[in-house]
Amino acid sequence: MSAFIRYQLISFVQSLKFIPPVVIFCAWVFILYAYKNVPILSSYAVSSLVMYLIMTWITMSIFTLDEESEKHILFTHLSRKVSYLFGKWLTILVIMIPLLLFAVFFPILIESFQGNMSVKLYIYTFYSHLVFSAFGILVGTLFSATKLATKKYAWLSAVFIIVVSLSSKAIIEMMAFSKWILWIFPPVFKVTEYMEDKSQLLLNKPIIFDSVFVVVYLLIGVVMLVPLFLNKEG
């Protein structure tokens, strides 16, 4: 698997497709921390949301990297088609790590925050960035590695999912019945609503329940994407 990940990373770097998402991500983080004394949690909430967008973009780029015949050759070398999917996900995680570390530690290094970081804040910060990256990977995979990828508006549909999930709270406030539909979209507010308070994080039952919900949502998403991918590659 390490050879496959290396293959994908080199191919991604040499394709130069990494430049737009990475540059936009870095620029966004620089701008976010252009001012000093910014609140910790809400700043991290913003960088997590940016991770969501950027990881969707990177995932879709990674899954559209190989030509059809190249993919078929890789299938035979990996023996199982599902190893191809897992290998792609591992490649995306490798790309995600430096972005995540940059988003978390850049403001700390340049001392942008008002207040100090605590262990609890570190844990929730890593959790939020990881979860939003995972949301991005799920959405990106859905629209680039399943039969939806062959549709004309795959990229537009991915953006639509992101926009709806980010505005789901406002949509539900306007149309209460929409909550019965919107639960299928990534539950971003189950993470960010605890980051609205400037620098305090309360560990209570709702945060634990919501975190469990989010993790279960991600696991179900991963489990559902495997047959969808195999169905496309059948």
Binding site: R6, Y7, I10, H72, T76, L78
Partner: protein
């Protein structure tokens, strides 16, 4: 050992039926040519045999074996130098680095592409890319080698080299290839499948320099013939079939046909 068995297998792609009710059995060590017109479903059948495509309907038995696959057209946009590409794909299926490099160098020399090992694949000629495609498949130590029009883009020397390489592979290696070239069939194949609109219309075994018997029989259904090993056959229209079988096996085949409710119409002996 059976390397692939299919029973009434169909394959649909984008709502279009590409393979229709294919019943076929492939044993280890067979060298099979798949022929047919463009768009008849040759490549799809090849990919179905290798598990690159999965069946939409029907049953398939495919034991876990190492597969080497050479596409008709080597990918155009691979972003590696030839050696880097071969090293990486070689490592995906093997953990022994030293062995891989030596084997790449050996194959590169055999196929005369040593001077292109440090050239980016994008800048290589079609023939060099095709050779790299063949080498990557051989690096997987394949028990089953699938070649989609393998002679496309190769010069005459490379064609002969590929044929001698394929012939020098151990007898137990199974090779299946699609082709239009009589040269490849003549030199390599011991069985020829002809496909038309996704259906196998002829499955013939090439019995070289051996006396054969031609059996003309009336059959209750076409599926019966596909179940009988070591024969080549041609449907004569209606419910009749012409079966060519080696003298050695003819008695057994006749008894199999009779047991399955077929009527023997004619039996003749002929030198191949």
């Amino acid at each position: 050992m059976k390397i692939f068995e299919a029973n009434k297998v169909c394959k649909k792609i984008d709502g279009r039926m590409i393979i229709h009710e294919v019943t076929i059995s492939i044993s280890q060590g067979e060298k099979i040519a798949i022929t047919g017109k463009n768009g008849s479903g040759k490549s799809s059948l090849l990919k179905l045999i290798g598990g690159i495509f999965t069946e939409t309907e029907g049953q398939v038995k495919r034991p876990k074996v190492n597969i080497g696959y050479v596409p008709e057209h080597f990918p155009e946009n691979i972003r590696f130098k030839t050696l880097d590409y071969l090293m990486l794909v070689g490592r995906m299926s093997s953990n022994l680095d030293e062995g891989i490099l030596k084997r790449i160098e050996k194959y590169a020399e055999l196929f005369a592409i040593t001077e292109f090992l440090t050239t980016p694949l994008k800048n290589c000629s079609k023939g060099t890319k095709q050779k790299a495609g063949i080498i990557q498949a051989l690096l997987n130590n394949p028990d089953l080698l699938l070649l989609d029009e393998p002679l496309t883009g190769l010069d005459d020397t490379a064609k002969i080299e590929l044929l001698s390489q394929l012939n020098s592979l151990q007898k137990d290696k199974t090779i299946i290839f699609t082709t239009h070239e009589p040269l490849l069939i003549e030199r390599l194949a011991d069985r020829v499948l002809t496909i038309e609109s996704g259906r196998i219309v002829s499955d013939s075994t090439i019995v070289k320099k051996e006396k054969v018997r031609i059996i003309k029989a009336k059959i209750p259904n076409r599926g019966i013939v596909a179940e009988i090993p070591f024969i080549r056959y041609k449907f004569l229209g209606g419910d009749s079939v012409e079966i060519i079988v080696s003298v050695k096996e003819s008695d057994e085949i006749l008894s199999m046909l009779l047991k399955r409710g077929c009527s023997i119409l004619e039996l003749a002996e002929k030198g191949e």
